[in-house]
Symmetry: none
Subunit: 194 residues, 4 copies
DNA sequence: GATGAATGAGCATTCATTCAT
DNA sequence: CATGAATGAATGCTCATTCAT
C-alpha cells in the first residue's frame, strides 16, 4: 500500500468513525449524508469519492464495528478461564458495543431492508458467526458442567436481546456506572445458563 | 353512539389495524401514508379525513396497542396466583404483543423523536405505567419470598429487553411454536428473579 | 317564485353573506370551502348543491356586493344636490363598502385570474359601470363649474385607489371613528377635483 | 468576497429577480416554487440550495425591493429642494416601484399572514420607516409653510393608497406614458397637502 | 336536500446522487 | 481530490370536487 492508498484508507476510516458517531446520535434512518459530511467538515459530495453510495458507507461502517467486536469475542473464547468467566466477559463486550455504537445491533433486525445483494450476505454471515461464538461458549460451559441450560439457542437470544436493549435506557448520567451495569447484567444473565 | 359514528369509529380502527400491519412489516420510519392507504385500498388523501396527520395516526396506532396490553397486565396483577405465575403470564403477554405488533416497543426508544407535545406525554405515561406494573410484580414476589433479586429495575430492563428482541427472530415457520417459545422465555427469565 | 324556490334563494343568500364574512376575515385566496361551510354550520359538500363550484360561489358573492353598491351610487347620482356633495357621498359609500367587504375591490385587480368566461365579463362590466358612474359625477361637476380637474380618469383612479387602501389599515379600535375617517377622506379627495 | 461567493450572491439575486417577476405576473399567493424555478430554467429542488424555504425566498425578495426604495426616499429627503418637490419626487418613486414590482405593497396588508417570526419584524420595521419618511416630508412642508394639511397621517394614507392602486390599471400599452402618469399623480396628490 | 366519505391533482420540502470545474 | 451546484424522485399534506346514501 503506497502513500496515496494509505491516505485514502485513513480518510475512509475517518469517515466511518464520524458516520458511526452521527448514527449513534441520530439513528441510521435519520442520518443523512449531509449530517455525516458536516461532522467531518466536508461536503456531502466528497463522501461519494470514498464510498459508492450511502448504503456502501453504512455497510462498511457496520462491517467495521462487527469485525472489531468479533475479534474481541474470538480472543475471549481462547482464553484459559472458566466458561462462566468467558460468558461474562462476552456479555460485557456486547454491552460495551451496544452502548458505544448505539445502532449497531438494530440492523440485525432486518439487514435485507437496509443492505442489498452481497452486503446482506456479509453482514448476515458476521451476525451468524457472532451468534455461533456465543453458542459455542454456552456449549463449552455445558460440556464442562458449568451450565445446564437446555434451550441453548433461545438462551442465547435472551442474553443478546436483553443486552441490546441497554442502548435504549443507558445514559452516562444515570444512577449506575457502565461498569456496575455490565457487572449486574453479566451476573443476572448467567443465571439463565446455570 | 349512533350508526354513523360507529361506522366512522370502525373505519378508524380499520385504518389503525392496517397501519399496524404495514408498520410491523416495514418499520414505522419506512411506512408512508401511501403504504397505509394502499393496504386499505384507499388513497392517501382519505386517511387525512380520519387523522389530522401522520403523527396522529401513528400515535393512536401505538396508543391503542399500549392500552390493550396494559389492560391485560392489570388483570394479571389482580389474579389470585403466585408472583411467579403472574410474572410468567406477564412475560407471555409481552412476548405475544412484541411478536404481533413488531414495532410497538421500538418507539419506547425515543418517543419524543416521533411524537410531539401532548402525544409524547401520553405515550411516556403509558410506558411508565407499563414498567411500573412489572416493577410491582417483582416487588410482590420479593415480599412473598418468591423472588430474591436485588437490582429490581435492571432485572426488569433485562426481562423486557430480552422479550422485545423476539420480534427480530421469531417466525411462524420456525422450529418452535409461539407457545413453546413463550414457555421457555418465561421459565428462563424467571431465573433472573429467583 | 314558489316556496321551494324562495327557500333556495334565501339559503343562497345566507351562503353568500357568510362567504363574504369569511372572505373579509381571511382574504379570498385563503378562504376554503370548508371555512365557508363551517361558518354556516354546514358541510362543504352541501355548498355544491347551491353553487356549481367555488368560482361560482365567489362570483355571486362579489356580484351581489357590487350590485348593491352600484344601486346606492345610482341613487346618489339622481339626488338633487351639488356635484361636490354627490362626490362626497359616493366616496363615503365606497369607503363603507371597502371597510365592510374588505376583499371586494381587490378582485378588481385581475378578475380574469379569479373568474372564468362569462363571469369575468359580468364582473368587468359592473366594475366599468362603477367607474363610469364616478366619471359622470366628475363630468357633471366640471360642467357645473364645481370641479376643474383635467385628467378626469386619472383623478377617478386616484380617488378610488386611495379609498380602497383604507381596508389595509382601518380598524374599529383605531383612533378615529369610521365617520370621521370618511369625512376627512371625502374632504381631502375632493381637493383633487377642484 | 471571493469569486465563488460572488457567483452565489449573483445567483441568489437572479433568483430574487425572477421570483419578483413571476410574483408580479401571478401574485405571490399564486406563485409556486415550480413557477419561480421554471422562469430560471431550473428545477424547484435547486431553489432550496439557495433559500431555506419559500417563505425565506419571499422575504428576501420583498426585503430587497423595500431596501432599495427606502434608500431612494432617504436621498430625496436630503436634497436641497422644496418640500413640494421632494414630495413629488417621493410619489414618483413610489409609483415607479408599485408599477415595476406589482405585488410589493400588497404584502403591507398583512405581513404576519405571510412571514413568520423575525421576518415579520424586519418587514414591519421597513414599512414603518417608509411611512415615517413620508410623514417627515409632510411635516417639513407644513413647517416651511408649503403644506397646510391637518390630518397628516390620513393624508399620507391617501397618497400611498392612491399610488398603490396604479398597479391595478397601469399598462405600458396604455394611453399615457409612465412619466405622464407620474406627473399627473404627483400634481394631483400634492393638492391634498396644500 | 344534506352529509359523510373518498378522490386526485397540486404544492412545499427533503435528500441521495451526479457531475463539471 | 474536493466542492458547489443541480437534479429528480419521494413524501406529507391541502383542498376543490364528486357521489352514494
Amino acid at each position: 500500500m503506497n502513500l496515496r492508498e494509505r491516505k485514502t484508507a485513513k480518510k475512509k476510516e475517518d469517515i466511518l468513525r464520524s458516520a458511526s458517531l452521527v448514527i449513534s446520535r441520530k439513528g441510521f434512518r435519520q442520518t443523512t449524508m449531509e449530517d455525516i459530511a458536516a461532522e467531518l467538515l466536508m461536503t456531502k459530495g466528497s463522501l461519494y469519492y470514498y464510498f459508492k453510495n450511502k448504503e456502501e458507507l453504512l455497510f462498511y461502517c457496520h462491517e467495521h464495528i462487527l469485525t472489531t467486536v468479533l475479534d474481541k469475542l474470538r480472543k475471549i473464547k481462547q482464553q484459559d478461564i472458566t466458561s462462566s468467566e468467558k460468558m461474562k466477559a462476552a456479555i460485557k463486550i456486547h454491552l460495551d458495543t451496544a452502548i458505544r455504537e448505539r445502532e449497531i445491533f438494530n440492523l440485525a433486525i432486518k439487514p435485507e431492508q437496509i443492505f442489498s445483494g452481497d452486503h446482506v450476505e456479509v453482514i448476515v454471515q458476521k451476525l451468524d458467526e457472532y451468534a455461533e461464538l456465543f453458542d459455542q461458549l454456552i456449549l463449552q460451559g455445558i460440556q464442562k458442567g458449568e451450565f445446564s441450560v437446555v434451550q441453548k439457542k433461545m438462551a442465547r437470544m435472551i442474553i443478546l436481546g436483553a443486552a441490546n436493549w441497554i442502548q435504549v435506557w443507558y445514559s452516562p448520567e444515570g444512577e449506575f456506572s457502565k461498569e456496575e451495569i455490565e457487572q449486574v447484567y453479566a451476573d443476572y444473565l448467567l443465571k439463565i445458563l446455570k
